[in-house]
């Protein structure tokens, strides 16, 4: 192969071409192999984003089915069980397959550019997290096709709903699919987080001190720490649940000494930090956008960082506010109530900082800014109802009503999703090199803003007058119909808005009519805007030497001493790590292991005994282990590029 010889044969030295079991694809590989073996953080970010947008549409369709069922009293669009499956799959999909991977897409694409790095610390491990995430998405949605269909246990999987004894359908496999997909998704998040932590701590460009890091990068760091400390709790809880369901242990089996209450604690010890894992990346994105479109530096940079860290820290101390009605006793309930009220303070500090940034600024109302403003206003609504829930007596009234549904959708759609959409409109020009259609963007914002509020604002009222959540239908005479119909209409408007938005993002790279973006179309402030759009594969031809916090802005408008410099061109060129097949092979091994475990049990028709066959699971495990061993043997290797100085 021409590219191989170009890569490995050096006329100056005696290096030989090494033959390997799987030959490593060369640097100029094109087509599908380019994407399957890539270790480039930008391509990985794009794949994360595409997969997550696909799941966003899927989870959205599930939501629309739920809304159709609730259009009128006693509707029959879905059966009881299908309805339970829909809200379970909707919740699980949106949390683990949409918001988290969309955040991961931005972490991958933007964070290394913001700190002046050429890639993340462990590029091949980064690819493995991507494949694990996709494997998790596949496993979760495979559940539709097997015994019992999808899980019908809620995204929280409360015991004893997961107890095999209480399965509605004999041999229901839904919860097993749910358990194993969450395990493999957890693995993906953990690997990615170890990677991001190492990258941010260790791979900053010279002069990029911690207090010069862009806020988005700071939030990446905080979220990564939240993930590595919160996910173990759910991993162990799921391991225990798997043992309960498969090997008859009694962790959550109340008939044999277990305590279902323990599941709730373990789930929410993970689940509450998870809330901040979902919202902090969006806060980071908004903190980047608001200064740019207000033409002012971020007001109170240090305070925003510090509040983010405090939110992350306190996020581990408030989990029981999800369990106020379980009877934990006065002391525990009061303590968690007070801590929940306290955590509102750093959140409020951030909001005032964003307002302070806009105050007196020259505000440009372009699409990213509109979404960022939408984020602030609607996140505030969700935040206020959140503070209401910190009061135990009020929470007891709201528990399991539509009021709670309104609350967390204001936080997760009005908050997280609007923040992420703001990020798309803001950074896609950097990704594709072309400006998005501003008019279409504003149209999407209008549809989403109106549709969203039409859907979820009436739910506050519906909850107050007593409509329970997670309930298949309601009877006539409660007065629920009108507001439910408004909510359903709103949901379809929101759905249309999201579909147009997704269409706009996905086609951005191919749309020839779009105007070129240039290096810095928004006159933005951070380091990624000093690079060409789209960014070259090596990111920085010469490593920048950072002199100030808003480096791109200082380069354009700041005093001479604040302009960034560049390290001298290295004779060795830019060292690029090689592509690899092994992350994909290891990921497939994990997928095989999980599927093998899912289907290892069968029942002997004659005797009724359980037969266990571990061969497929072991085969999958062996593939994964071989993948890791070969991975270690092949090493990072690499090749060198010699970019010209102006080619960034």
């Amino acid at each position: 192969m021409a590219t191989e010889s170009l890569k490995y044969l050096n006329p100056d030295s005696e290096t030989e071409v090494k033959t390997k079991v799987f030959p490593r694809p060369g640097q100029n590989t094109k087509g599908i192999i380019n994407w399957l073996t890539t270790i480039d953080h930008k391509k990985i970010g794009i794949m994360y984003g595409m997969a997550a947008l696909f799941f966003l549409i899927l989870g959205g369709l599930e939501a629309l089915l739920i809304r159709s069922q609730l259009w009128n009293h006693n509707m029959d669009v879905l059966t009881n069980r299908e309805y339970n499956q829909m809200f379970t799959m909707h919740g699980t999909t949106m949390v683990f397959l949409v918001i988290m991977p969309l955040s991961a897409a931005f972490f991958n694409f933007i964070m290394p550019l913001q700190i002046g790095a050429r890639d993340v610390a462990f590029p091949r491990m980064n690819t493995l997290s991507l494949w694990c995430f996709i494997a998790g998405g596949i496993v979760l949605n495979l559940s539709w096709f097997f015994t019992g269909g999808s899980p019908a246990i809620g995204w929280f999987g409360y015991a004893p709903l997961t107890d095999t004894r209480f399965a509605e359908v004999l041999g229901d496999m839904g919860p097993d699919f749910w358990i194993f997909s969450l395990q493999i998704l957890g693995l993906a998040s953990l690997l990615a987080s170890f990677n991001f932590i190492t990258t941010i701590i260790n791979m900053r460009a010279p002069g990029m001190t911690m207090m010069r890091l862009p806020v988005f990068t700071w939030m990446t760091l905080i979220v990564s720490f939240l993930i590595i400390l919160a996910f173990p709790a759910i991993t162990i809880a799921l391991v225990e649940l798997m043992f309960d369901r498969t090997y008859g242990t009694n962790f959550y089996d109340f008939l044999e000494g277990g305590k279902p209450h323990l599941w709730q604690h373990l789930f929410w010890i993970f689940g509450h930090p998870e809330v901040y894992i979902l919202i902090l990346p969006a806060m980071g994105i908004v903190s980047e956008i608001i200064p740019v479109f207000s033409r002012k530096p971020l007001f109170g940079y240090g305070l925003i960082i510090f509040s983010g860290a405090i939110i992350g820290f306190m996020g581990f101390a408030v989990w029981s506010h999800h369990m106020f009605t379980t009877g934990m006793g006065i002391v525990a309930t009061s303590a968690f109530s007070i801590l929940t009220m306290l955590i509102a303070i750093p959140t409020g500090v951030k909001i005032f900082n964003w307002i302070g940034t806009m105050w007196g600024g020259r505000i440009r109302f372009e699409t990213p800014m509109l979404f960022a403003l939408g984020f602030i206003t609607m996140f505030m609504v969700g935040g206020f109802t959140g503070i209401m829930h910190s009061s135990v007596p009020i929470d007891a009234q709201h528990q399991d009503s539509y009021f709670v549904v309104a609350h967390f959708h204001y936080v997760l759609i009005g908050g997280a999703l609007f923040g992420l959409f703001a990020g798309f409109y803001f950074w896609l020009p950097k990704l594709t090199g072309k400006m998005l259609n501003e008019k279409l963007g504003k149209f999407v914002f209008t549809l989403m803003f109106i549709g969203f509020n039409l859907t979820f604002f009436p739910m506050h009222y519906l909850g107050m007058i007593g409509q329970p959540r997670r309930t298949h239908s309601y009877n006539e005479g409660h007065g629920f119909e009108t507001w439910n119909q408004i909510a359903t209409i709103g949901a379809f408007i929101l759905g249309v808005g999201i579909v147009i938005g997704v269409y706009q993002f996905v086609t951005a790279a191919f749309n020839k009519k779009l105007k070129p973006a240039g290096k810095n179309p928004w006159d933005a402030r951070t380091l990624e805007w000093t690079l060409s759009s789209p960014v070259k594969e090596y990111n920085f031809a010469r490593t920048p030497i950072i002199k100030a916090r808003d480096q791109a802005w200082e380069n354009n408008y700041g005093p001479e001493e604040n302009h960034s410099q560049k390290e001298p061109l290295d004779d060795h060129g830019v060292h690029m790590p090689d592509r690899s097949w092994y992350p994909l092979i290891t990921g497939l091994g994990f997928l095989g292991l999980v599927l093998g475990m899912l289907f290892h049990q069968s029942v002997d028709v004659n005797t009724g005994e359980i037969i266990r066959n571990y061969t497929p699971a072991i085969a999958g495990g062996v593939v994964a282990i071989l993948g890791i061993i070969m991975w270690a043997i092949e090493g990072p290797a690499g090749y060198h590029l010699f970019p010209k100085e102006d080619e960034e």
């Binding site: 173990p232 242990t249 060198h640 010699f642 010209k644």
Partner: protein, 215 residues
């Protein structure tokens, strides 16, 4: 596209912002995360230990099946393996390949003895005549102690087994002739993992075993 070149591939360690190698930061982050894994398991065990103190109406005395002499012995062996591990790291830093090899071998043997003790212990507990402790029952009555005990100590055993396989990998590598002081940092990371797994056992041994004799 800029000129792609054919320079020899150099393997110099990249300079990091903190001066700590990337792999070491990764390992510390992983160990922080692993603390939470074991924290969750140990909490589960402690919670159930207190609230499920009886079995079939009678007070549960797990001392009937514990063999504290055997467990103390295997605890000692595991702790001693940490000494070998530390010596292996020290030897590879000095470039003493022969000593590294022997110390790695010692760590593997002691790790394997610990695992063998655990396998013996599990088998013994499951089949203890009249006192069978299984995943779901004790003396034939449904109980949680077996669930928390086996899953907690089993997870720890899995960690030890992974460590043993990792060390065997290094031992094999040491015979390829490629091992040098350049690998010291990688072996040190392996050592960090091994010491951590030991420390976890130092917590599990009193909490799961010794406490049954004290409270």
């Amino acid at each position: 596209m800029s000129e792609a070149s054919a320079h020899a591939i150099d393997h110099h360690e990249p300079v990091t912002s903190t001066g700590i190698p990337n792999k070491k930061v990764l390992m510390w982050a992983f160990l922080g995360s692993d603390c939470m894994f074991f924290g969750t398991l140990i909490s589960t065990h402690l919670i159930y230990r207190k609230i499920s103190a009886t079995v079939g109406g009678n007070f549960l005395d797990i001392r009937d099946i514990f063999d504290i002499e055997l467990t103390s012995f295997s605890t000692f062996i595991l702790l001693a393996s940490s000494l070998f591990m530390a010596l292996a790291v020290s030897a590879i830093h000095k470039g003493n390949l022969n000593s590294t090899r022997w110390m790695l071998f010692g760590t593997i043997v002691f790790g394997a003895i610990f695992l063998a003790c655990q396998v013996y212990e599990f088998t013994h507990f499951v089949h203890a005549p009249g006192n069978e402790l299984t995943l779901s029952s004790y003396r034939g009555e449904p109980h949680v102690f077996g669930s928390t005990f086996y899953v907690l100590t089993g997870t720890h055993g899995t960690h030890v087994a992974i460590g043993v396989f990792w060390l065997i990998g290094w031992l094999i590598y040491s015979f390829t002739g490629k091992m040098s002081t350049a690998d010291a940092m990688d072996i040190e990371c392996c050592g960090l993992y091994w010491h951590f797994v030991d420390i976890v056992w130092i917590l599990i041994f009193p909490v799961v075993y010794l406490m049954e004799y004290a409270f």
